[in-house]
């Protein structure tokens, strides 16, 4: 295709997972011309291999928590009319501790979180826990309930966000690989793909754990790495687990940089009747091979929370790669090393929840508007900066 005939978009988005879909939606709704390029099909990466968590309960104080609260208001506010289409459930999350000592530590965390504006209710003992979740192991000591934790079906969310974006004129090219990012005078000016060249005012990398690979096409280093997790899917069951339920160790593991296998229990039901069980974390590159140990530990941890699961059949397991950065914060915004190159990636296990907030902020920044939250902490070039002497 000759340069004169190359199509042009205000924005080219690389990746049609939840981040690409969300960015496409906000950009197109704001009147920008958008092309989304996806090497597979919609949500064929991490977005179709997760649980659809929208959590505030597990966020560390700081920019990620702020982004999480901001995102929540968008899911429940301007996107509320679409909630049924992506099975948004404001079910709330229950963190459970199995020991008195763990409960006391949780109490400290909860008091701290309240101070930051997170709504959380004490659940003082086993009986109170089982009023909320009747099937919970009676041996659990106590917990905390987070009414603002919620769930969506992430694949539906990505598809519907893209449908809405296309309704605003966005173009979607699936099964199309980005071969190169075009750079001119140090500025990203578009992409070369297997379907031809596309010129753009901005190239936005939303490629999840593969964002580093894509950024490298522009000669830019982006330290996004994969952290593998397994999910077990049960046979369809009558309503059994009412909320998202996790053991208190979950919060620790999210924040950990440990490379080895970490498992803590997360259990939730879904509108389709299946129960999803997670969560494992390990750094094994992009190895999709089934890990008997990881799957076994997820199964065991789930049974400890809900003994009735012992006899329940698991029909399916899948693994996915959470994209994370070394400091456990995502990269959002224009790359200071290359104008025209933007990123929205690295949200680790919180991508679904944080997607819409990320996208809205990014599009604000793209349009030169003041952003509702500062994007400073998420600047993609922060890893290249020398620490202050």
């Amino acid at each position: 295709m000759s340069a004169a005939a190359a199509p042009r978009s205000d924005v080219v988005i690389v990746g049609a997972g939840i981040l690409g879909a969300a960015v496409a939606y906000f950009a197109a709704a704001a009147g920008l011309s958008v092309t989304v390029v996806e090497r597979g099909s919609i949500a064929s990466g991490t977005t179709s291999r997760c649980e659809g968590n929208l959590l505030v309960s597990d966020k560390e104080v700081g920019p990620e928590l702020e982004l999480s609260l901001y995102s929540q208001t968008i899911w429940r506010g301007e996107l509320a009319e679409h909630a049924p289409q992506w099975e948004f459930e404001a079910k709330g999350g229950l963190v459970v501790s199995s020991t008195e000592r763990g409960k006391r530590a949780l109490d400290v965390l909860v008091a701290h979180q309240r101070g930051l504006g997170i709504r959380v209710d004490d659940v003082v003992d086993s009986a109170a826990l089982r009023e909320i979740e009747p099937y919970l192991n009676p041996a659990m000591a106590g917990g905390a309930f987070y009414p603002d934790d919620a769930q969506v079906q992430p694949v539906l969310a990505a598809h519907h966000l893209l449908r809405l974006a296309r309704g605003h004129g966005a173009r979607l090219l699936t099964h199309t690989v980005v071969r190169a990012i075009r750079v001119s005078a140090g500025r990203a000016t578009g992409v070369d793909t297997t379907a031809g060249r596309i010129d753009a005012g901005a190239v936005i990398v939303c490629a999840g754990p593969w964002s580093g690979e894509v950024a490298a096409l522009a000669g830019v280093a982006l330290p996004v790495l994969p952290r593998r997790g397994f999910v077990l899917v049960s046979e369809p069951l009558p309503p059994t687990v009412r909320h998202k339920v996790y053991s208190a160790e979950y919060v620790e593991n999210v924040a950990s940089s440990d490379a080895g296998l970490q498992v803590s229990s997360v259990v939730e039901g879904t509108p389709s009747g299946t129960i999803l069980m997670g969560a494992s974390r390990e750094r094994v590159g992009f190895d999709t091979a089934f890990s008997p140990e990881a799957v076994g530990r997820v199964a065991r941890a789930g049974m400890e929370l809900f003994p009735v699961l012992a006899g329940v059949q698991i029909m399916r397991t899948y693994s996915g790669f959470r994209p994370y950065c070394p400091d456990h914060l995502p990269v959002i915004g224009e790359d200071g090393r290359m104008p025209g190159l933007w990123h929205a990636a690295g949200h680790e296990g919180a991508g679904i929840g944080l997607s819409v907030g990320t996208a809205k902020l990014l599009v604000q920044s793209l349009r030169g508007e003041p952003t509702d939250l500062s994007l400073e902490p998420f600047r993609p070039h922060r890893f290249d900066e020398r620490p202050a002497a």
Binding site: Y135, N137, E235, P238, P239, T240, V308, G311
Partner: protein, 101 residues
């Protein structure tokens, strides 16, 4: 063919009804022979289902056998005195916290 065993017909109970079977038959076969063609309703539309693939692949024929849920009738041998119940997708799991069956 020899006469049936002298200690009486082989039977299992299905939703409280006695179903005769020949030893060696599956629960699904015995129900079919007894004129029962469905023992389950689907979760969303409530359609009746019974045997479909007949060889253990489709999981349409599931029912509860001696307290164990989601057993395939077509590959589960019928045994004397079994308690078989049709599958109700809305029936809650037992609340005792013990392993089912």
């Amino acid at each position: 063919m020899t006469a049936p065993p002298p200690d009486g017909a082989r039977e299992f109970s299905f939703d409280g009804r006695a179903i005769a079977f020949r030893e060696g038959q599956t629960i699904g076969a015995a129900l079919t022979a007894a004129g029962v063609t469905s023992w389950r309703t689907t979760r969303i539309t409530g359609e009746p289902r019974g045997l479909f693939c007949g060889i253990g692949v489709c999981y349409d024929c599931i029912l509860t056998v001696d307290g164990r849920r989601a057993q395939r009738a077509c590959v589960t041998p019928a045994l004397d005195g079994q308690i078989v119940r049709s599958d109700d997708p809305a029936e809650a799991l037992p609340l005792t916290g013990e392993v089912d069956g």
